[in-house]
Symmetry: C2
Subunit: 368 residues, 2 copies
Amino acid sequence: MVKTRRVAIIGAGNGGHAAAFELAQKGFAVHLCDIDEKVIDGIRNLGGIQATGRFEGFAKIALLTTDIREAIEGVEAILPMVPRYAHRSIAQELASCLRGHEHLLLCPGSTLGEVEFAKTLRENGRDQPVSTVATLPYACRLKEPGRVSISLITKTLLFASFPAKDTEEEARFFSALFPTISEMSNGLEVGLNNGNPVTHPVPTLLNAARIERGERFLFYREGVTASVARINQKLDEERMALCRTLGFRTISLTERLFLTGYADRIYETPLEAYHRSEAFAPILAPTNLHDRYLFEDVPYGLVTFASIGERLGVPTPTMRLIVNLAAEVTGVDFWKEGMTLSRLGLGGLDRFDLLRFMEEGRSPAVTW
Amino acid sequence: MVKTRRVAIIGAGNGGHAAAFELAQKGFAVHLCDIDEKVIDGIRNLGGIQATGRFEGFAKIALLTTDIREAIEGVEAILPMVPRYAHRSIAQELASCLRGHEHLLLCPGSTLGEVEFAKTLRENGRDQPVSTVATLPYACRLKEPGRVSISLITKTLLFASFPAKDTEEEARFFSALFPTISEMSNGLEVGLNNGNPVTHPVPTLLNAARIERGERFLFYREGVTASVARINQKLDEERMALCRTLGFRTISLTERLFLTGYADRIYETPLEAYHRSEAFAPILAPTNLHDRYLFEDVPYGLVTFASIGERLGVPTPTMRLIVNLAAEVTGVDFWKEGMTLSRLGLGGLDRFDLLRFMEEGRSPAVTW
């Protein structure tokens, strides 16, 4: 086995910067790719990535590029580290240049991102397993191109592959990159533990006016109050009901924050967790409403959760309320734009067919 | 006709103070009543009411009391000037001491307040017409007991009586007190022009976190942004659809602000009206969520509107969304607590029966 393994990271945002730094530090040759030339040039000018915060240091990046084809040349693993809504176009681009032996990990995969990714690859002639983790491996903020502040390395990375029959083998490979990955039964279980749709939209909406005015305030410390957290908890209960119905572990929001390392203990309520955990303390609110806190977490989170609920007969009234409110606030019909089981071609499956499909990646009732 | 007419005002809040001042200035002998002894004592210590703002002056109040029975002794008119949710208990108290000749005006009556008031009186053995206006006759703020700042006298007071066959006679009487009253076809038309349910809940909810934290900010100037005003406008369109279906005039929010004098012209959008009209400029947000902006305007406004919509087959999806959101934020089931046609005993009436009932005050299908 060669010592220097090559890894491509697609997307040089907060997470892409942090992963590029950490994997390069660990001895991987990192290819970092972003569509934004200014970002790539900024990193190139520094000669690599400077990390501050909990992990101080500098790491050289083997290859910096805006060209996906160049980025994945000779790599063993490809890590798209982009918002959920960018998955489809990246899968389309990758399909034309994959060799077939690369390990793919959506990092994170949001909810059912790996299914849409695999579907897009297949529709473009490629058939490879796609793995997913439930959260970014870091709490981090990009300060400027080439400079990232990392405040936390996630303690547990919930992991699965699509199809899930490949999870064990893929986990063996990816644990060299991320030793904290923890296998789950399938990507649906991972995706239902994507905490963002429970956490982000409600504080965004119940602070919509000041966000729209561009006022700066602390998202968790100032923007989350008792009633905000109570609605988050209701969303979390609906999410856990979906998990229970599918026979998955039910990990509450507060338990997950402890598992991942965002909280030092399991706080009794979401409000306590948001207000006391150090990792949340410095996080500022978005500066406008056209933010992934709504445009990722509603159409690719709450809409997806609610569509699963509809299929399973599990009521999700609070999720539906928040989707409707986000639609009113932004003027975007998220029910139409968002990712539902039907849109993934899975609308005809019942609960057990859906679980079998997640395991095997094929079903007579699925046309792709 | 005696020169000095006696008028009882029940409730010494913002509006009660302003009306007591203005009517006393006009030469009426005002009896002012409030359940809060400290408020009555405060006014008594001053010897009357000091007004500032657009109308400067001092007026003596003929009688200050906490006892409704004493307050209405010898008066020709009784003006409950209280939040909508206090109507029922005041009607119960009044029923035991009314003489039968007093003119009653809910000032304002919110939505269908006059119907609930008349129903409560009848259930307690009294049968008198009850009139209503759509808004307070003033824009005013109480500074402390006895001191009120009046920034505006409303230019048009939409008025009707229940039953509406008495509107003309009651309007003749009340125009001596309020010369700007303008007759509408019935109380339902007045109540559907109660602008508060359209105006207040959305900015309250989309600023819920900072209100819950007790932060001070300008409700209209800072708390209303483009998306807030767009949702207000959707509520207003649903409200106007109700008016149209009932054959009423459709007065838009921006037109009403001009009619009442809150705006110096008819602004094109609610956002412009809220941001440009002087009357809104100084108004601060409530300091907590247990405020009439939610607890009056949702259960006695949006819930009532939506129940009328349901009866008439007029869709009110945005109203329903805002009611559901207010319920989530406060933890109160406003659909259960709020005032619906059914709760008023009017659930069995169709559109034309409802209009006839508002006119005549009786219907074979109504049991009270």
